[in-house]
């Protein structure tokens, strides 16, 4: 279809919105290299020098280095646990034709609609009751539960594409159920696994409210998303440091996004609307 001249307003509107998305990020990035005076005096001017002073301050004042390590630890372990739980479940539900399996699958796909943050306080009680309050361990155990509905639903669809004959052949060779899952289904579901990992990487790395309430403000334990807002209180109105800290937390996600843009878009799109 040709886009005629009458599309001019549409082009203008769309690019204006694109600019609105970009300008704050540019401001963020530019301000990270400036002092307060420069930021207020000429907010849009590119930085004069690329000194890393602000980054260093942000790093030491809010213990961001340790926070990044904590975030990585929680994210990686939670991702591993998610796969450990979701893969066998999806394997079972995908192969089975029974009524129980169909009901279970339905339970998981409905769970997709339960908003995670609705039950913050009871989850806090659960953490206190299990003695895991103020630990990263609880988050490692808890985050996979929030990711399970989506992960299971996505993986089941991939498991269904594995031909039945492959399993039967493996069975004839004496393979156990575990071996079938490990050597037949898992390799064939790698794209699905990648999707699940990417999606959950984003949501685990970016998780804020639960980490704030459950891990708490202890600098030795807290994640980077909890540490970041404390910069506002610590530095007062030192915008250079504040923006430098924000840029630091965005870097890992940005790198992953730019490297895996296509895959990530597919993941997010399939993740948002598989019901």
């Amino acid at each position: 279809m040709k886009l005629g001249k009458r599309w001019l307003p549409a082009h203008v509107l769309v690019w204006t919105y694109a600019a609105l998305l970009l300008v704050p990020l540019y401001y963020l990035l530019a301000s990270a290299f400036k002092s307060n005076d420069e930021i207020f005096g000429r907010p849009f001017a590119p930085p004069v020098s690329f000194g890393l002073g602000n980054f260093r301050t942000a790093f030491t004042r809010a213990d961001l280095g340790l926070a990044v390590v904590n975030s990585l630890l929680v994210t990686v372990l939670a991702l591993a646990l998610t796969l450990l739980l979701a893969l066998p479940a999806a394997f079972a539900l995908g192969r089975s034709t029974g009524r129980a399996a169909a009901a279970l699958e339905r339970v998981f796909s409905l769970g997709f609609l339960i908003p995670t943050f609705a039950a913050l306080f009871p989850t806090f009680l659960l953490a206190a009751a299990t003695g895991l309050f103020h630990t990263r361990t609880f988050m490692v155990l808890f985050l996979p539960a929030t990711a399970l509905p989506l992960s299971v639903v996505i993986l089941v669809q991939f498991m269904r594409t594995v031909p039945r004959e492959l399993e039967e052949a493996a069975r004839l060779d004496g393979a156990s159920t575990y071996a079938v899952l490990r050597h037949v289904h898992t390799p064939m579901c790698l794209p699905g696994i990648a999707t699940v990992l990417l999606l959950n990487f984003l949501s685990f790395w970016n998780e804020y409210l639960y980490s704030l309430v459950i891990i708490g403000p202890d600098p030795a334990q807290r994640t980077v998303q909890v540490a970041l807002p404390t910069l506002k209180a610590i530095t007062g109105t030192d915008y250079g440091v504040l923006t430098a800290g924000t840029v630091l937390t965005l870097v890992p996600v940005w790198i992953v996004y730019t490297l895996l843009q296509k895959r990530m878009q597919q993941s997010l799109v399939s993740g948002a609307v598989k019901m």
Binding site: L21, P122, L250
Partner: protein, 311 residues
């Protein structure tokens, strides 16, 4: 009776078993049981806390270490008599009524635009995704840097000679809620548009072309041809955005305005957080939680009805 029943069953089964035609397919080993750990995990960490909301809502519990007593519907009465609750209802209603329609309509049009593959659509697609990647605290920091008294927006206004329009946007009762809605829209439109674009990419091109041959413009094609085709998908995305706005607003409020000034930006989901972790009135907090949950459920059903496939 007990001795009789097995016999007909046994008779019916035994002659049939040897014949290969009616033999049941070989049972697969290790069936549904493998789904049990995931299910347990899900029940303990998601369904359990969800159910607990309803229990705590019926308790009088004035603080973590205070004695707990049964309150029945007492909390509900307290909540309904509290003007703060009604402020929060109003703010949430305004937030949903403004953010949701604007977001869905704009995102659909933007998605349609991108799906037509105009020049530069790849760049646009890349940019639209940015808000979907940024964590809530980072978004809040961007918003804070843009809207604080000496931030980006005021700087820009001064720069073009409109210094008299500057305001402490986040700290002014008349603009605090608008800022939160603005943040929702800023980050929501782009992400939702990518979802719509991906779905619209799958609509056969002939549909649009046929409409064009009949003399329909893009505006007509967009709403009369494409929209009905992806109607149920739009419904699903609307449901998700509804839930994210309804429940997720607590994080933005907490990071940017703390519900203030006064109660001008207190939303229902922030009220749940505030009463639980700041005011330590746990029964009150979870009663609002129950109301929020039921609102969410009612909203989902309403949206599903609204977007039911009609062709």
């Amino acid at each position: 009776m007990t001795t009789l029943t097995p016999i007909p069953g046994g008779r019916a089964v035994h002659p049939a078993a040897p014949s290969p035609a009616t033999a049941p397919p070989p049972r697969r080993q290790g069936g549904t049981i493998l789904a049990v750990p995931a299910l347990l995990w899900y029940l303990v960490f998601m369904v359990g806390p969800m159910a607990a909301i309803f229990v705590i809502a019926a308790l009088h519990w004035p603080g973590m270490l205070q004695p707990v007593s049964f309150a029945g519907l007492g909390n509900l009465r307290t909540v309904l008599d509290d003007p703060v609750f009604w402020d929060a209802v109003r703010n949430t209603a305004v937030q949903l009524a403004v953010a949701l329609p604007v977001m869905i309509v704009c995102a659909f049009m933007l998605g349609y635009y991108v799906a037509q593959r105009p020049p530069g659509h790849r760049v646009i697609r890349y940019l639209l995704f940015i808000p979907g990647l940024i964590s809530t605290p980072a978004k809040a920091m961007v918003c804070y840097a843009a809207l604080s008294p000496d931030g980006l927006l005021n700087g820009a206004l001064k720069g073009v000679g409109l210094g008299s329009l500057t305001d402490a946007w986040l700290a002014s009762p008349s603009t605090a809620l608008a800022c939160l809605i603005g943040l929702d829209l800023w980050s929501g439109i782009g992400f939702t548009a990518v979802l719509f674009a991906a779905r619209l990419d799958g609509v056969p091109e002939e549909l649009g072309e046929a409409a064009h041959l009949d003399g329909a413009g893009h505006w007509r094609t967009m709403w009369r041809i494409h929209f009905p085709v992806v109607r149920d998908y739009v419904g699903v995305v609307t449901m998700l955005q509804f839930l994210w706005t309804l429940f997720g607003s607590a994080q933005h409020v907490l990071l940017l305005t703390q519900g203030g000034p006064g109660t001008s930006s207190t939303t229902l989901s922030f009220l749940v957080y505030q009463k639980a972790f700041i005011a330590a009135d746990l029964g009150y907090s979870q009663t609002v939680g129950v109301i929020l949950f039921l609102t969410g459920l009612a909203g989902l059903l309403a949206i599903r009805r609204l977007f039911r496939q009609t062709y």
